[in-house]
Symmetry: C2
Subunit: 475 residues, 2 copies
């Protein structure tokens, strides 16, 4: 290992390789388990990533990419691995105003990229809670979603070009800036959302949009579940092209975030089973506000909405979003487990009812709090059963019920280590076998973020160093 570290130090220059206490310090996170990396490597360029991968590949030593380390599925757990921290590769290399694209290094923080686009009158529409720490490399590697997927898609839909490094150090540079490019297999898709298991993302070209100049929001109370998709489709239709969010809070969530000690206060009275936050982004404030009012009137006339408030100012809009974002209140239910799933809207009501009944049957004091991006079929479920040790039993229920309705165990957070053992709930044996074959082809020595997404196929082919690292990783 000393020999490898000396080599990596050479490649990475001063401050480029953290070991011992420095590495342990870098591995402290409140968000996610980072484990105990062998070392933390801080490359400054794609070429350095390539050289360090080549060295690790030759030595059979695993690597785990680190961006903002705000993931929620232990995808950056690095025990037994060299962590590749991208904090020295954080430049915005180019913003092409005519082409409406930006070229960004993997370590650039999402919010920094968003602000740089905005300064040019452009818009990078990826919006998520971790925006201030998550990196571009991280959101690309995990195909992050967030609040505006309904209109702008997932991260995958914003990536036009990508440069990545393969396990053996080969640089695959495909920094295409074009919306249309049908020249053979779309290799970048294998880097996007594969959580660092097939290659390390070093740079991307992102598609930008025009910066919206108007914003509207409304807060609604809804009496029945079946009115939710009707309402969604009504808004999609009436607010053609401008609907940017359709967030639903189940009663329990709304009550938690609007009662002491939460800072938020009710926007509409308690008592309705569902609350919806609707948002539009546009370019014509007067006209857009009128449309929102008109769409709401139609919804009221159709009996889809029991009560509604339209935000009259930025402060009121912010207040609505603040409720939606005050997820921390769920901790008031004691130890809880959070889930990020997606399923057909038509299956949601029965799924949640069945799951809640199953939880209550086993733990009579169980709590279940639900909210989510309904427009994307994405629900966040927070379950508390009073015991931290019950995680697996709760997971079995959540994912077991989900499997029956063809849902996805990960809508936007990814698989990482946490959901790996449940992958078969959402993917067929043929799919998992094919993923395994891809993994084996891209990473024959299993050094790329091993153990994430897929179980390691077999005993690694490398020397004793890797074997002990693996043991640590799986321990």
């Amino acid at each position: 290992m000393d020999q490898l570290f000396a080599k990596l130090s050479d490649i990475l220059g001063p401050g480029g390789l953290l070991t011992g206490d420095d590495a342990a310090d870098a591995a402290k996170s409140v968000w996610t388990r980072l484990g105990q990396p062998l070392a933390v490597a801080r490359p400054r360029s794609t070429e350095e990533v390539s050289a360090l991968l080549k060295a690790c590949h030759a030595a059979g030593v695993p690597v785990t990419p680190w961006g903002g380390r705000t993931g929620l599925v232990d995808g950056a757990f690095a025990t037994g691995a060299v962590a590749i921290l991208t904090d020295r590769m954080n430049r915005i290399e180019e913003i092409d105003k005519q082409g409406s694209t930006m070229t960004v290094q993997a370590g650039c923080v999402l919010q920094t990229a968003c602000e740089a686009a905005e300064a040019q009158g452009l818009f990078l529409p990826l919006d998520l809670g971790a925006r201030g720490s998550a990196t571009i490399g991280g959101v690309v590697s995990t195909n992050a979603g967030g609040n505006r997927v309904l209109r702008y898609g997932m991260t995958r839909d914003m990536v036009l070009g990508l440069e990545g490094v393969l396990a053996d150090g080969t640089i695959v540079s495909a920094l295409n800036p074009l919306i249309k490019n049908n020249t053979g297999f779309d290799l970048k898709q294998l880097f996007i959302g594969s959580e660092g298991c097939l290659g390390i993302v070093t740079r991307v070209v992102l598609r930008l949009r025009p910066q919206p100049t108007s914003q509207d929001a409304a807060f609604l109370a809804v009496e029945t579940f079946e009115n939710l998709p009707r309402l969604l489709r009504l808004f999609e239709r009436e607010l053609s092209g401008t609907l940017s969010a359709f967030e639903v809070m189940w009663r329990e969530f709304y009550e938690l975030v609007t009662t002491e000690p939460a800072k938020g206060r009710p926007i509409l009275p308690h008592g309705a089973p569902f609350y919806v936050l609707v948002e539009t982004l546009g370019a014509d404030q007067a006209g857009d506000s009128e449309r929102m009012e008109r769409a709401l009137e139609k919804a009221l006339e159709a009996g889809l909405v029991a009560d509604a408030v339209v935000a009259k100012s930025k402060a009121e809009r912010d207040r609505m979003w603040a409720l939606r974002d005050d997820v921390a209140q769920v901790a008031r239910n004691g130890p809880v487990f959070t889930f990020d799933v997606s399923l057909k809207i038509s299956a949601m009501e029965a799924y949640l009812a069945g799951l809640k009944a199953a939880l209550l049957e086993r733990w009579p004091n169980a709590t279940m709090v639900v909210f989510g991006h309904l427009g994307d079929g994405n629900l966040h479920i927070i379950a508390g059963v009073g015991e931290r040790s019950a995680r697996k039993a709760v997971e079995d229920l959540v994912y077991g019920h989900l499997q029956k309705v063809g849902g996805s165990i990960s809508a936007e957070h990814g698989v990482g280590l946490q959901k790996r053992d449940y992958l078969a709930c959402s993917r067929s044996p043929e799919e998992i076998a094919l993923m395994g074959r891809l993994k084996a082809m891209f990473d024959p020595r299993n050094i790329l973020n091993p153990g994430k997404v897929l179980e390691p196929a077999e005993a690694p082919a490398a020397g004793p160093e890797l074997a002990s690292a693996e043991t640590g990783l799986l321990g």
Copy 2:
């Protein structure tokens, strides 16, 4: 071969295997070279596709998928192969109104799928000239683009789930209906746009949108190239979310489609260097028309537009689109070669000027007609030099100049056989090598549409039958 045919006949049932004259008849097409398939197989189900692939795989006999056979790059050329015609797998299996998705078999004609969605108040926004013959399997396998990519994306962006069959007959079913689904590697991306080289698409789940109820169009004359991207960004901004097309016709194209014997007549006088067709789709006819007028006023005030007409009726809109679609007029320039490329908007003007100069230098009577989806960076270039035999020389110029500006040799048509030899103009050696490794992994016996996209890696591993087929294919 007789033994294989007997087996395929068994699998496919009555009318399921066409040979001899019947196969030759099926291979007649005005659009594309289909070659002389060994036979034409017409499976009725995914299971039959699986069984027939298993048989062909065992025998080492190539297969080439056939949908509507309206491709433009000889991607369905089937000499030496069994063509898999999907015309008996053409059902729309489900339309989920709440979830706004449809599940469709590969052989369903695009227009049929669009109409079925429309009947439910929903919208499948893929729109291209071949809509009446192209199939869903074909548009997915080639990642078709078309007129509304600017707003709705390519076919790739509409596919939520996909079922495909691998070379050895393994069915990989991932009929996910969810917008958000981050459970491991996104395998469907390897089937989309890979032109049947990695697997055969059998079914897909498509994302639908609300059916627009308003439509506006305007026709503009523009004096300088640099005003085009400014105009595009102005419309994108002002018509937030509703801009669905921004089509540019260069002077020569506009004159061809508005003079005898073309049926079209000028909408604006001849003489401007560029004409633009702008379209919006929305849900508020009065409000949307007002916005279009207002955006146009801003464009006129900013000096971006020299002259403009707004369509006042569907007939007027149709007349605008009819000009754009009357591509057949380019045949009046004698034998021509058509190109489908994309490049950065900022590089377009110099690229076209350089290319035209190079064509004229070599062929003083050369013609070059240009039009395209400027919003996507996608240009269609029609070059005529008077000699049909000059194809390669013209290709060398078009792609050679394109390579210098980092353009793409195929924006939306794909690579097929026609562009294969130029792949290196748009993809790096590392990318091509990685594509080759994927091909070898997915299709070790090289039976899946061999020779398309990539050159066959080496002498096939199969028996003499395959060897002779290969010879035919490459002849």
